[in-house]
């Protein structure tokens, strides 16, 4: 039994975890994911991100797909244990930490929830409300990082890393090479930060906040981790594998809402139309998606389209959304239970 089944925050026992893993290994979804992986492994469109020099070192062939259910079953296909930096896929989770630290009203006074249909690094601010438009673009993410509490910088970094650890179910680490690269080349983000400081949108500890933001983007994850993070949100904020609460249940819908409307950069509207599930991408090649009440899906493939989303990742989600009727507005008779696909048929 896990928390999603018994209403407690109990982790899976070793035996339960083993039996769950065996069921996952025999699940029909594993076969579906393997087929999709094989279908798109040869897709060669897109380019690996290079505006941060360290990102350009990624192997363009890397390709992983993971799915984790709210019952803690996990299916991993391809390069699912290959580490990469989380980049913008971290943004919803930091937004969640800001909400926990300050509450909804205060955070909304500092960061909007309005999609703008512009690129992730656009220098656009809501000057009427005196705040960035939403937490999924860099300006809003920097404002969210600014709201993360801590008596000093080390404590804020520790709190951030511990928060991501709760979502992933393991200790996460910063890739120092990427962090250094981000910090050396992050002039645009500094400009965004200083512009916001000029308008009193962020506090005057900006340098520290930018460091925190660069650290946040440089965290190393796998697409299995992304799937666990997605499953945690799908499970009301409790990691279904460890039973540990990662975020107050009250704020889960806040994260899912902004992921749904703003999570995929300037492709967000089309994503909502075509695929229709809350998701967030990162220029490291990861995409984390949430099927509320059912599970999380993570994909990783470093080649990006012109809007900064993983080409193969989007294909995977298009296929899964169609196959299982995942779209939030899908007609009931077209919806299939993804969660039932995690267990072998009996």
């Amino acid at each position: 039994m896990n928390s999603s089944q018994n209403g407690t925050d109990e982790p899976l026992s070793h035996l339960d975890a083993l039996l769950t893993r065996m069921k996952s290994a025999a699940s029909p979804l594993r076969e579906v994911l393997r087929e999709i992986h094989a279908k798109y492994a040869s897709l060669d469109d897109g380019v690996v991100a290079s505006y941060i020099p360290e990102l350009a070192k990624a192997n363009p062939a890397w390709f992983g797909i993971s799915a984790v259910s709210v019952q803690g079953q996990a299916i991993d296909v391809g390069d699912s244990d290959q580490q990469f930096t989380i980049q913008s896929a971290s943004k919803p989770f930091m937004f969640g930490l800001a909400l926990e630290d300050h509450g909804r009203e205060h955070v909304l006074s500092k960061i909007g929830v309005q999609p703008i249909g512009e690129a992730f690094n656009s220098i656009t601010l809501d000057q009427v409300a005196n705040r960035p438009f939403n937490p999924m673009i860099n300006a809003g993410a920097i404002a969210a990082a600014d709201l993360v509490d801590g008596k000093d910088y080390p404590e804020r970094v520790t709190r951030m890393i511990e928060m991501f650890g709760r979502y992933c179910g393991r200790t996460v680490y910063v890739d120092n090479s990427v962090f250094t690269s981000e910090r050396m080349t992050g002039h645009r983000n500094r400009a965004i930060g200083h512009l916001m400081l000029n308008f009193d949108m962020v506090s005057d500890r900006l340098d520290e906040t930018l460091e925190l933001y660069f650290q946040q983007c440089s965290l190393l994850v796998t697409c299995h981790d992304l799937a666990v993070m997605g499953a945690t949100l799908a499970n009301g904020g409790v990691n279904p594998i460890t039973g540990v609460r990662a975020i107050d249940a009250e704020y889960v819908k806040d994260l899912l809402s902004v992921m749904h409307t703003c999570g995929m950069y300037d492709y967000a509207g089309e994503w909502a139309y075509r695929i229709g599930i809350p998701a967030k991408s990162g220029v490291g090649g990861g995409i984390v998606a949430v099927i509320p009440g059912q599970g999380g899906i993570g994909t990783f493939s470093p080649k990006l389209d012109v809007k900064g989303n993983s080409v193969r990742g989007i294909k995977v989600f298009e296929e899964l959304a169609q196959k299982f009727g995942l779209h939030v507005f899908e007609a009931d008779d077209k919806k299939k239970s993804l969660i039932s696909q995690f267990s072998p048929p009996k």
Binding site: M22, K23, S24, A26, R30, K346
Partner: protein, 256 residues
């Protein structure tokens, strides 16, 4: 519709591999295509009964698990050894065997490195499809390990082989509990090596009561089988033996 049957025992020495081999032959004789996979990677042996010698084996289950071949490349048609000559054009009956490696280095590699147990599931499905199998019998390693649990998960039927022995009784309870937690739909029991003079009806009743599962066969302690020393298939050599008659009951239960 193909059926996957796992044959398992909690302890070694129950006669599980002999039961598997002879059961495969009995089912095949009824006109079916039967595959056997030896997932007892740590202590393989079922290939011996089918006279599958090392010089004939180019690939085995281990090669598939390392990604060096497709599962069907590791499957050997052992129909001739199993049931004698079948016309080349006849699709049925057939018996295929996927052996595990008996090379020390290969066994050591599995123990040291492990493997993605999910691949086994992929392999089983592909084997059924590629060889058009009616039945896939999985010979498992005694006790509880990942490949055993996986084979239990994906089985349509689990056959649990045990001896009338207190240690077997206790261990089989563990397996049954796990099988039920894994939602296995049908678990049946085969009691093997029953010594002469033991009350069979009483034994059957006792075992069925303990485990709440059907006893499909009560196999006698079989000296002829011991004397054969894995040199061939018992049901072929002793078609009227009580052991063979009991195995027919198991085969019929699986076929129906």
């Amino acid at each position: 519709m193909s059926k996957i049957v796992s044959i398992h025992s909690f302890r070694g020495g129950t006669g599980k591999s002999n039961v598997t081999a002879n059961l495969a032959v009995t089912i095949a004789r009824a006109g079916y295509r039967v595959g056997i996979v030896d997932t007892d990677i740590q202590s393989p042996g079922i290939h011996v009964v089918f006279h599958l010698t090392e010089d004939r084996v180019t690939h085995c289950l281990n090669d598939f698990l390392w990604g060096d071949c497709q599962i069907e490349d590791a499957a050997y048609d052992v129909t001739d050894a199993a049931i004698g000559n079948v016309a080349a054009g006849d699709e049925r009956p057939r018996v295929f065997l996927v052996p595990a490696s008996i090379k020390t280095s290969e066994i050591g590699r599995v123990l040291k490195e492990g493997y993605d147990v999910g691949l086994l599931n992929d392999g089983f499905k592909r084997l059924i499809q590629k060889l058009n199998l009616d039945f896939l019998l999985i010979d498992t390693h005694p006790g509880v390990n990942e490949e055993t649990l996986l084979s239990i998960v994906i089985s349509d039927r689990l056959l649990l082989v045990l001896r009338p022995d207190q240690q077997d009784f206790q261990g089989s309870s563990v397996t049954l509990e796990l099988a039920r937690r894994l939602d296995v739909s049908e678990v049946s029991l085969i009691v093997n090596k029953i010594p002469p003079g033991m009350d069979r009806a009483q034994l059957k009743n006792k075992v069925e009561t303990i485990y709440s599962a059907e006893v499909l066969a009560l196999l006698p302690l079989n000296f002829e089988l011991v004397r054969m020393a894995s040199s061939g298939l018992f049901v072929n050599r002793y078609p009227e033996h009580p052991f063979t008659r009991e195995l027919n009951l198991v085969a019929n239960s699986l076929i129906k």
